[in-house]
């Protein structure tokens, strides 16, 4: 290479005066990018990108050659303006007031930058795969609970069913406490309580006698077992939380009323929709005034000042 360029400040301390360093230049980056684009575009068979890459490579290649041969052509080297701005005080070798990107600084930056890029390319998708599936595409399945005639008026029943098809049978079992409240404005009204204690998630139990004989209802999702019962309330075996029959907390550590399920009627059959959280219930049966909130985990307050502990709920 006929590269006789001398860096400004070459007369400084540690530089070997005999060394001829090529002028720093950004043109090779553009050239390499163009070549890489061409190769990638050939793989994905996009002729437009091949053309863009080829043009890039040609233009930057020309500029690179021009810069490298400037000495031979005896024109003064221009400053590579894009790279000089932010490295002014990093190296002490500039004495003519014209800062340069020194080789060691460039290599340091390139190593860190490329390392960070490679690390990011590998890490970010992995971390995303670790974390995101737990938050995205979380949907409750709708569950057929059988014909309305299975639910006599004002009769509490324990309904045991398979809550999701995505889990193996043992884990997928769910229990709800259901009461038919009769017609309200021409549509059937149900009270459907979740058995998940709103303290820490143990299964609450009805306080009172429950039939041992189950009434089996055939459904597509594996059937529903109904047990008639006459509860005076609900209680949790883990830490002593107690609820009345509308799910309001009466004693113990729970922080709100029992969660409920939305429901809908299709072709004369009761269908369970997604659950929701409840602050407090006034009244009973079909007249109940329910303070409904989006479903949150057990133990989280939905009302009162403590609700501000949970400003974001996934």
């Amino acid at each position: 290479m006929a590269d006789e360029l001398e860096r400004p400040g070459e007369n400084g301390e540690s530089q070997d005066p005999a060394a001829h360093l090529p002028a720093p230049s950004i043109w090779p980056f553009g050239f390499a990018l163009g070549v890489a684009l061409v190769l990638v575009a050939l793989i994905i068979s996009s002729w437009v990108i091949v053309a863009i890459g080829a043009i890039l490579a040609l233009v930057f290649g020309f500029l690179w050659i021009r810069a490298a041969t400037r000495e031979v052509r005896a024109t003064p080297p221009p400053e590579p303006a894009a790279l000089t701005a932010d490295v002014e005080e990093e190296e002490g070798e500039e004495d003519d007031g014209e800062p340069r990107l020194s080789r060691s600084l460039f290599l340091e930056g390139a190593t860190l930058g490329i390392g960070a890029a490679i690390g990011g390319i590998v890490t970010l998708p992995s971390v995303g795969f670790m974390v995101l599936p737990a938050f995205l595409d979380q949907e409750y399945e709708q569950i057929d609970l059988g014909p309305l005639e299975s639910y006599p008026r004002d009769q509490w029943v324990v309904a045991k069913f398979r809550g999701t098809q995505a889990q193996p049978d043992g884990v997928a079992r769910r229990t709800a406490y259901i009461r038919y409240n009769g017609q309200q404005d021409g549509t059937p009204s149900f009270t459907i309580l979740s058995n998940r204690c709103v303290h820490l998630g143990c299964p609450v139990q009805p306080q009172g006698l429950t039939d041992e004989e189950a009434q089996m209802i055939e459904t597509e999702a594996g059937g529903v077992e109904l047990f008639k019962m006459a509860p005076s309330g609900f209680g949790c075996p883990c830490h002593g939380g107690a609820y009345d029959i509308e799910g309001n907390r009466t004693a113990g550590p729970p922080v709100r009323a029992l969660d409920r399920y939305k429901y809908s009627i299709h072709n004369g059959r009761l269908r369970l929709d997604e659950p929701y959280s409840v602050g407090k219930v006034k009244g009973t049966g079909s007249d109940a005034q329910i303070a409904a909130y989006d479903l949150v985990d057990p133990g989280q307050h939905v009302d009162g000042p403590e609700q501000f502990f949970y400003p974001y709920v996934p």
């Binding site: 737990a134 938050f135 979380q138 820490l200 974001y312 996934p314």
Partner: protein
């Protein structure tokens, strides 16, 4: 020992020392090991100082037995269609009841978990009561606190793996306690469960956390913990008569740190770096 060694003895010695020398020349590991084993410790070092290495031993037992258990355990919540039991629970039954010595290794892992936690707390109590968390060992106390949290994370994640009623509902409660933390809690709960409900994803991710993520972190932090112990020296008990600070070493070697009851003046202007150059 005879004062002059016979030629045969010299030959044997040379043969025995050759690989040691070979390794030392290329790695310096032998010298490092010698330094670790023969470094100076305070004269009053006593049985209480063994709690840390006892904890380390408990961790090694957990690691070894855990690796062996992982060869037989199956982290699947699916039901075996023949028996109707979850596969994870069945594999635990097989380990305990059918496999030769499985009951012993699982017992070591199960009870060793409690031993590990108990020893951790005893070790922490010793460090606290001896004042061994004070300057310049604050960082090692912090590392130890993280180690304690990770060990308890091991306890939480390992408890679910038998996949029986006890472990299932205990984990329901434990995850919901985590989910009650302000602001970040709901996200932490969903992350631990792998969704909104505890299910087979929870089991597999707890398995991964239990045998890959947390043990890796534990091993790395234990290495850092030990490095700091060796670098900073052993704390003598509070009743030591030894003066604090660094002793002058006649041979110019790296001195052992003595008592912190009368600690040396804080800092010597160069962040304690003079020891390396002395």
């Amino acid at each position: 020992m005879p004062k002059t060694k016979s030629k045969r003895q010299q030959q044997i010695e040379a043969v025995a020392l050759y690989p040691v020398d070979w390794l030392e020349e290329r790695s310096g590991l032998i010298g490092g090991l010698r330094y670790f084993l023969f470094r100076k410790v305070p004269a009053e070092t006593n049985w209480f100082h063994t709690l840390g290495s006892a904890t380390l031993t408990a961790f090694i037992v957990q690691a070894v037995t855990g690796v062996i258990l992982a060869m037989y355990y199956k982290p699947s919540a699916e039901l075996n269609p023949e028996t109707g039991k979850p596969i994870a629970y069945e594999s635990i039954e097989t380990i305990t009841n059918d496999l030769t010595l499985g009951w012993l290794v699982r017992g070591m892992h199960r009870w060793g978990a409690s031993v590990f936690i108990i020893l951790l707390f005893l070790h922490m109590g010793r460090v606290f009561l001896f004042g061994a968390y004070k300057y310049p060992r604050e960082l090692n106390w912090l590392v130890g606190a993280v180690l304690l949290l990770m060990a308890m994370g091991e306890g939480l994640t390992g408890y679910l793996l038998p996949w029986d009623q006890t472990s299932y509902w205990a984990t329901v409660v434990a995850i919901n306690i985590n989910a009650n933390a302000p602001i970040a809690g709901p996200f932490l709960g969903d992350f631990l469960r792998g969704g909104q409900e505890i299910g087979s994803e929870t089991l597999t991710r707890f398995y991964s956390l239990h045998m890959l993520v947390i043990p890796g972190g534990l091993a790395g932090l234990i290495a850092l913990h030990l490095y700091l112990v060796v670098r900073l020296g052993i704390t003598p008990p509070p009743w030591t008569k030894a003066a604090g600070g660094y002793e002058a070493q006649p041979n110019g070697g790296r001195p052992a740190r003595t008592g912190l009851v009368n600690p040396s003046p804080r800092g010597n202007g160069n962040g304690g770096r003079e020891r390396r150059e002395s």
